[in-house]
């Protein structure tokens, strides 16, 4: 193989890649924040005593989890406008990713809730808290810390999924990588650098989150 490596084009476009990476991180952070809210509601829904509520939550979670994310992205961006819901690219992508994250997080939260000892709620009742106060002050904080590792994993896969924003021309890292690839023909360099950025950033996020987990962990 005689291929002359030349990374100069990549270096010249460093700002684009950085911009794209920044946008990807932004998309992932916003989506996981919204997704946590959706996921909590869905998790409580799945564990609810009301049949309809349970049914809706279960249907949402299994429908989203079994549908490819690319189909969801395209559906939200190209098909929803027909129902009068027209969003710009970035909002549409955030909308999709949040709904997507919500379904996965719902499952995480549900198992977190199930694993909590029953006594937690009863102790809350015993000191005269309302059901809502018990949820917000005891159940959710404890559960949250317990599921933090799965939450981290979900965030990392969500960040990787932001690469699909390129499919609807949202200018993220993958979008710019393709652009540089097409314009410069430095094919190998482009994709080497792009995937290395993803790998390194994922690794950094993982170690950062692990430190956070340790800080927040309940001592035992």
């Amino acid at each position: 193989m005689n291929y002359d490596f030349n990374f100069s084009v990549i270096w010249r476009n460093w700002d684009l890649l950085a911009q794209g990476l920044g946008l990807g991180l932004f998309l992932a952070i916003v989506s996981i924040a919204i997704g946590c809210g959706i996921g909590l509601l869905a998790a409580f829904g799945m564990l609810s005593r009301q049949k309809t509520l349970r049914w809706i939550a279960v249907a949402y979670v299994s429908a989203i989890r079994n549908t490819p994310i690319l189909v969801l992205i395209l559906f939200c961006y190209f098909a929803l406008p027909q129902l009068g819901i027209a969003l710009d690219k970035i909002s549409s992508f955030i909308f999709t990713l949040s709904i997507y994250a919500g379904a996965y997080l719902a499952e995480v939260f549900r198992s977190g809730l199930v694993a909590l000892p029953k006594g937690l709620r009863e102790a809350g009742l015993a000191i005269g808290l309302t059901e809502l106060k018990i949820k917000t002050n005891i159940i959710i904080p404890v559960m949250f810390r317990n599921v933090l590792p799965s939450l981290s994993n979900n965030f990392i896969s969500l960040f990787k999924d932001t690469s699909l924003a390129a499919a609807i021309a949202v200018p993220d890292l993958t979008f710019y990588a393709r652009k540089i690839n097409v314009e410069s023909f430095r094919v190998i360099e482009t994709w080497m650098v792009a995937s290395m950025i993803y790998v390194v950033v994922c690794y950094m996020i993982a170690s950062l989150l692990r430190r956070l987990e340790q800080r927040l962990a309940i001592p035992r």
Binding site: T67, P68, L72, F75, Q82, A194
Partner: protein
């Protein structure tokens, strides 16, 4: 929304959609099979290999798991043609999914093997089994039972990831659907339809997995 129009167009497009579905299934089956074979090998090396092979394989896995599948597909598609491997988009895509699958399966297999108590190996040795026999009759059957649920999950991941091949021009179910949409402008109906088919596909895989699990479970 015009339901009868949708049904008529669906009927018109049936052959191309079925073709697309066929490709989706083919891509998934080949990637999962090849990826699993490679993955079992990787899992074995990670469990029983020397430190250097373990280290190299670790790098391989971490690299594949840190890269988005989409980037992996684009990289395989663009890079391989440059370095002189003349792969079709289909082949490049399958290669990417195979690598992706192998990293997952490798991790799963290793996890299952190290979770088996050491006493199992020792008991097998003490009745005179060789390492190969111990692996085949004692370790593998136990590992397989533990692997199955996660492995099924990986298979559904691959089915979902196969949609990404549409972006490099492989006419699988999603691209076939998009082609129909560009002709009929029924994006709402057909995207929904495609989503539903994927849902069914994964549902069937999951149910089949559960059935096998029940079948081979030991009390």
């Amino acid at each position: 929304m015009n339901f009868s129009l949708f049904l008529a167009e669906l009927w018109n497009a049936r052959m191309s959609l079925i073709n697309g579905l066929g490709n989706t299934v083919l891509i998934s089956v080949v990637s999962v099979l090849l990826g699993s074979i490679l993955g079992v090998f990787i899992g074995l090396v990670m469990t029983y290999g020397g430190w250097f092979t373990r280290f190299s394989v670790r790098l391989y896995i971490d690299f594949l798991r840190g890269t988005p599948v989409f980037v992996l597909i684009l990289a395989c598609f663009y890079i391989l043609s440059v370095v002189g491997f003349d792969l079709s988009a289909f082949q490049a895509g399958v290669l990417a999914l195979t690598l992706f699958c192998s990293s997952h399966v490798g991790e799963i297999v290793r996890g299952a093997l190290i979770a088996i108590p050491k006493g199992q190996t020792e008991a097998a040795k003490s009745i005179g089994l060789t390492f190969g026999q111990t692996f085949i009759y004692v370790l593998l059957p136990q590992a397989l039972r533990q692997i199955l649920p996660t492995w099924v999950n990986t298979a559904t991941e691959i089915v979902k990831a196969s949609t990404l091949l549409s972006i490099i021009g492989v006419v699988e179910l999603l691209l076939a659907t998009q082609q129909v949409i560009s002709r009929t402008y029924l994006s709402l109906e057909f995207y929904f339809f495609a989503g539903f088919v994927y849902f069914l596909l994964n549902f069937v895989i999951e149910q089949a997995g559960r059935a096998v699990e029940r079948r081979i479970s030991v009390p």
